[in-house]
Every structure is written in C-alpha cells, then in structure tokens.
C-alpha cells in the first residue's frame, strides 16, 4: 500500500510538474538588466519602457507563433543600479537561475561589453540596442547582436554636412570621454576629419563624469577653433554648453553624440540648447513601417501616451530588439537558443526603427541623421539622401542671440 501511495504521489507530483511546466512553456521570457536607478537611470528608463511597450503590443497582437503553437512574451527585468559588476551578476542570474529564453540588452557600451560575455558563455542570444562601441563586436562573439550603428560611424554624416557649410569650418576640436563608446567614436572620426581636409586643432580625451570644461573651452577659444565635436555623456554635454556660454565661447558650430535628441536636454538648457547639432539614427517618421505598431510615428505616439515623455532612438532601438527576437523565433520555428541565434544572424525585416539585418559581426548599420535644435525644436538637417533642412550656421555669439 505504502509503495502504491508513494508511487501515486510521485505521479501526481509529476503531473503537477508537467502542467506547470507546460504553462510556463507558453511564455517566452526575455531577460534584461537595465539602469533603473543610479547615474544612468535617465537613459535606462528608455529601455525598460520600450521593452515593456513592445512586449505588450506583440502580446495584444496574438503573441509569437512557433510552429503550431502560440506563445506570449514575458519580461524579466532587473535594476543594475548603473553598476557594471552588478549587471554582469544579474545577467548570470537571468540565464542560470531564472532560465530566461533570450536576453535583451542594458544601456551603454561598457555594460554591453561586459554583459555580452555572459550571453556568449551560456550560449543565450542577446539582442541589445544600448551599446554601439565597435569593441563589443570586434571579438567575433556569436551570441551578441546590436541595433545601434557602429560608434566609429557616429560623426560620419556630421563630417559630410560640414564639408558643405558656408563659410566652411577649417579647424576642428575633437573632445571625447574615456569610455568604450566615446573612444570608438573618436577613433572613427579622426580619419574622417583628415580625409575631409579639416585641421585637427585639438584632440583631447577627458574623464568620464567630468564636470569642469573650463580649461578645454578656454583652449577652444584661444585656438579659435571653428567646429567642436564632443563625444560624451548627457551630463557632461549639459555642463559643457553652460560653461561655453558663461565663458562666451562660441565656435561656428558644435555637435554632440548624445543629448540633443532627448527632451530632457532641451528642457534643462532652454534657449541655450539652440544651435546645438547632434545626431540620431531614428526619427519618429511615418515612413518607417512596422508590423506591430504600424509605423514609427504611431510607436512614438503610443510611447508618449503610456509613459508621458517622448521616445528617442534609444527607445526605438530597444523596441526593435524585442521585435528582432520575435522574428528570429518565428523564422526558426523553435525556441532553441542555438537555432534562434542562427535565425537572428539571418533576420531581415523593416521595423519602427529601420531595417534590421545584422552583419557578420552581429551589428546593424544605420546612417545617422544630422539634427539641430532650432528655436527649441528638433530639426532634421541632413539624412542619407542628402540635405533635409538648412542648418543655422554659423552659430552667433552668445550675447547676440
């Protein structure tokens, strides 16, 4: 009797395990560790919100078809508190304890650089739209895919635009922070500037999180530099612009890798943000058709309605990451991570963010559109197909605005 009851108990247990197992199998769980607190939380929230919005939208539309079965998407998100080491631990936890199916990325290149080692080790694909440094993809890892354009290309369209400016800028200052992303930007920009015939009057690296740019700005002024290109972080750019104003440093133009597209930047600087050039690989244009959101404009509207702030390219790339995983799973017809990885390397579809097709290193290449803040509004100046609007150039002196 005892034996039988033991056996039946085991059977019941097995049945329970199976039913809960099959219920869980109906979910495809995407795991990510994102900066929800800490110094980078301001940008991290784009990823959290974009992931959530994309997951909800895809679930509303019926979920993910894998062979004859339909799965729902679920999101498992941790807050890495803007700490790279914690982020690596959380990704390890996501794959080893939480057993998520696929990984989405954190924000920022130094995070993606470290975290991609986890996806590679455990052979779980990670699609990330937060790290652009060429370093991430130079290691020939097989399980990391990126939806930001290579950092080395960031200033490419800006340099193109600079060639056509009148009066043409002659001397250029290239300033950049000492982290994986910004060093890659500088390395890619240097030869482009030389090829275009500009004089590199300053080529300076500064510490990440620097707050004082007075020495650099004084040099910009004393060397009479025409154009200043800065690859840094939003906090640095804000201080840079404020200090440029207070020291009355007004080159003919300045351009920044980050900050300019975000609403927060324009709010914090007010009128002082005018004339700043920047770049974005994405604008909420209705021309970017999308299977789930309709188009990029509808995505932007849905995002703003739900989270009460405007999405920028970080958010668009984040949403596209979720879509890329879904496309790959549907194409593979399985949730086996190795097969989905192979499918990811072959995906080619139009998303709200642009065409998603990864090169051999796992990165996509989207051209950057040059943007400028004109009278408090973001204006697209030059895209892939050439000029869109006239730049306000040269920048007037601060007291003449």
């Amino acid at each position: 009797m005892l034996k039988i009851s033991g056996l039946s108990a085991a059977l019941v247990a097995a049945a329970v395990a199976m039913s809960s197992g099959s219920a869980a199998a109906k979910d495809i769980v995407l795991g990510a560790s994102v900066q929800l607190t800490g110094p980078v939380a301001n940008t991290g929230r784009y990823y959290r919100d974009a992931y959530q919005l994309a997951v909800d939208k895809i679930n509303e539309a019926g979920g993910v078809k894998v062979g004859n079965e339909t799965y729902k998407l679920a999101l498992k998100l941790y807050d890495n508190q803007s700490d790279v080491n914690l982020s690596v631990r959380q990704y390890t936890q996501l794959v080893s304890r939480d057993k998520v199916n696929f990984l989405l990325g954190p924000f920022a290149s130094n995070f993606a650089l470290a975290d991609s080692a986890v996806s590679e080790k455990y052979q779980i694909p990670m699609v990330q739209g937060g790290g652009a440094s060429d370093q991430i993809f130079a290691r020939k890892f097989k399980y990391i895919f990126g939806t930001l354009a290579p950092a080395s290309h960031y200033f490419g369209s800006t340099v193109e635009m600079m060639k056509g400016l009148d009066p043409a800028p002659k001397s250029v200052a290239l300033l950049y922070a000492d982290d994986a992303f910004d060093v890659s930007v500088a390395e890619g920009t240097r030869p482009k500037l030389k090829e275009a015939g500009f004089t590199l009057a300053m080529d300076e690296r500064y510490s990440t999180n620097a707050t004082d740019f007075n020495s650099l700005l004084s040099q910009v002024k004393s060397k009479n530099v025409d154009a200043v290109l800065v690859a840094g972080h939003e906090t640095e750019i804000l201080n840079f612009v404020r200090q440029a104003k207070s020291l009355a440093v007004a080159p003919k133009m300045y351009s920044f890798t980050v900050g300019v597209p975000s609403e927060d930047f324009r709010k914090a600087l007010g009128k002082d943000a005018d004339y700043a050039f920047g770049m974005t690989a994405w604008l909420p244009s209705a021309d970017l058709k999308d299977q789930w959101f309709g188009d990029a404009a509808q995505f932007a509207a849905a995002f703003k309605a739900k989270f009460n702030y405007d999405p920028d390219y970080h958010a668009a790339s984040g949403a596209a990451d979720v879509e890329a995983v879904v496309k790959a799973v549907e194409n593979a017809g399985t949730i086996d991570p190795v097969k989905v990885r192979d499918a990811l390397s072959k995906v080619d579809f139009d998303s709200l963010y642009g065409r998603i097709a990864f090169n051999a290193n796992g990165q996509i290449d989207l051209p950057q559109t040059v943007i400028q803040i004109q009278d408090g509004k973001l204006v697209a100046i030059q895209g892939v197909h050439g000029k869109i609007a006239a730049p306000k150039y040269p920048m007037p002196a601060w007291d003449a605005r």
């Binding site: 301001n42 007075n214 004084s218 939003e234 404020r242 207070s246 009355a248």
Partner: protein, 287 residues
C-alpha cells in the same frame, strides 16, 4: 599668455566653489569628529531646494540662498538630533557606516522625489560674463566665488568672536570642561551639524547655477570636499579656502598642460602627498 590667465581665473573661481562645498564638511569633521560621507548628498538636496524655489516661487538662486540654508539647517539639526547623536561617541567606523547609509538613502529618495532627470538652475544672467580685456569672468561663477569667500570668512569670524562660536570650539577642544561651563552638548552638536549642512545646502544652490544637477552628483562632491578639507586642514575655515583654491587651480592647470583626464589624478595625488608629508593640512598646525 592670455590662455594661461584665463585658465588661472577659471581655476580660482572653481576653487572658490570647491571651498564653499568643503566648508561644511570641514566644520562637522573638525568639531564633531564626524566624517560625513553624506555631505555631497546634502549639497545635492540644497541644489534641489534652490531649484524649486527658483522654478516655482521665482526666487533668484542667490537671493534665495538664506532660505535654502535655513531649510537645510533644519534638516541638519534633525538628522543630528535624531540619528547622529546616537553614535557621536562611538568609534569612527560607526559614523562612517551610518553616514554612508544616509548618503544612499538620501540619493535614492531624491530619485523618487525628483526623478533621474538632469536639471539646471538657469536664471537669465546665468550665462552672462564680464569681459576684462583678454579674459572673461563668468558672472555666476564670480558671484558664487564672492558668496563662498564671504561665507567662509564669516564662518571664521563667527567661530572666533561669537558666544555660540566659542561654545562650539570649546566643545570640540574639551567636552568635559565645556559641560562644566554650562554647554549642552546634544543641542550644540545639532546646531553645529545644522550649520554644516546649511553651508552644504548653500553650496548646492551655487553649484546648481553653474553645473547640471541630478540625484547622483553627491558622491563625487563628497570625495572632492574630503580632499579639500584634508589639504587645507581642519583647524580653521581659512584653510578650506586655501585647499579649495589650490585644488581648483591645480586641476585647471593640469587639464591645460597635461590633459583633462589627469585633473583628478593630480588632485588625489596631492591629497596622498599631503597625507604623507603634512597630515595636518597646508595651513594646519604642524603635528
């Protein structure tokens, strides 16, 4: 030469702000023997108080400094009375732990309350400057410098010449004797800490007019204030001015001649040197 002149001015003005930031830390450390690791978080809170006064009540950030200081004094007084008095005679390690914890709590509460958005206190004149021949004096930095020097000298006079100031110094020197003369230490500790935090709050208001603020600026400001206090010495507030100016100029010159990435290396290198060669600070009494 013009460039050097401009960089020296930049460094001096930066140094004045540094001195202001460090003043409260040095006072609390010198008198209460508390190394307040939450000091930068209080600077951050002061910046937000100033920001809100400016944004919602349209109070100019410089004119609003007394209000900011008063609010922060109250915060500081309560923190000392309710929390730090409990460990005032405990080993240094306990005070480090509790103020570190306080820093974390204040930072994350600030993110909850104010979000992680970057903000600036941006009155219309914030970017104005005075041009003196080849060099430019940024107005907000100049004002901040003036206020910083005035408050630091005022602090010095206050400690030397007022009854409360004497009581504070007496308590720092000999608690038992001070008690015999009728000093109530718990209240006095709270007043001292309150003054330190009021100074931190005022420094935050000044900082917000020249730099961006967000809930996470505190830790770096604590580190900087710590270095300035050590370099200048804790004996008198004038040492803090010397330490602040020294560091501001050193960082600016390093950025110009060696490279901006080395500015922090230089300042913390000097900190280590001072600790080895003259642990009582540049102006401190020789040990």
């Amino acid at each position: 030469m013009d460039l050097l002149g401009q960089v020296l001015i930049n460094g001096t003005l930066l140094g004045g702000l540094y001195a202001m930031m460090a003043l409260g830390l040095a006072l609390v450390w010198g008198v209460l023997n508390i190394v307040n690791l939450a000091h930068g978080a209080f600077i951050m809170l002061g910046a937000y108080v100033s920001l809100y006064l400016f944004t919602y009540l349209h109070i100019d950030p410089f004119l609003g400094l007394p209000i900011t200081a008063a609010v922060m004094f109250a915060v500081g007084y309560c923190v000392q009375r309710g929390l730090l008095n409990l460990i005032v005679r405990a080993p240094m390690f306990n005070t480090l732990l509790i103020t570190f914890g306080l820093e974390v709590v204040l930072t994350y509460l600030a993110q909850l309350a104010f979000s992680a958005d970057f903000r600036t206190i941006n009155p219309t004149y914030a970017g104005d400057s005075i041009v003196l021949g080849p060099v430019v004096l940024p107005l907000a930095r100049l004002l901040a410098f003036g206020v910083a020097i005035a408050l630091t000298v005022g602090m010095w006079l206050f400690l030397l010449h007022t009854k409360l100031g004497r009581a504070i110094r007496a308590t720092a020197q000999n608690l038992v004797a001070a008690r015999l003369y009728g000093v109530e230490p718990r209240h006095l500790y709270a007043v001292t800490f309150g003054i330190g935090i009021a100074l931190a709050g005022a420094a935050g208001g000044l900082y917000g007019t020249v730099s961006q603020i967000n809930p996470y600026i505190g830790a770096a400001l604590t580190a900087k204030s710590f270095a300035i206090s050590i370099i200048g010495g804790l004996d008198n507030p004038l040492g803090v001015i010397v330490g602040g100016l020294f560091l501001g100029i050193l960082e600016s010159l390093t950025a110009l001649y060696i490279g901006p990435t080395y500015a922090d290396v230089a300042s913390f290198g000097v900190l280590v040197l001072v600790l080895i060669v003259r642990p009582t600070g540049l102006l401190g009494k020789a040990a």
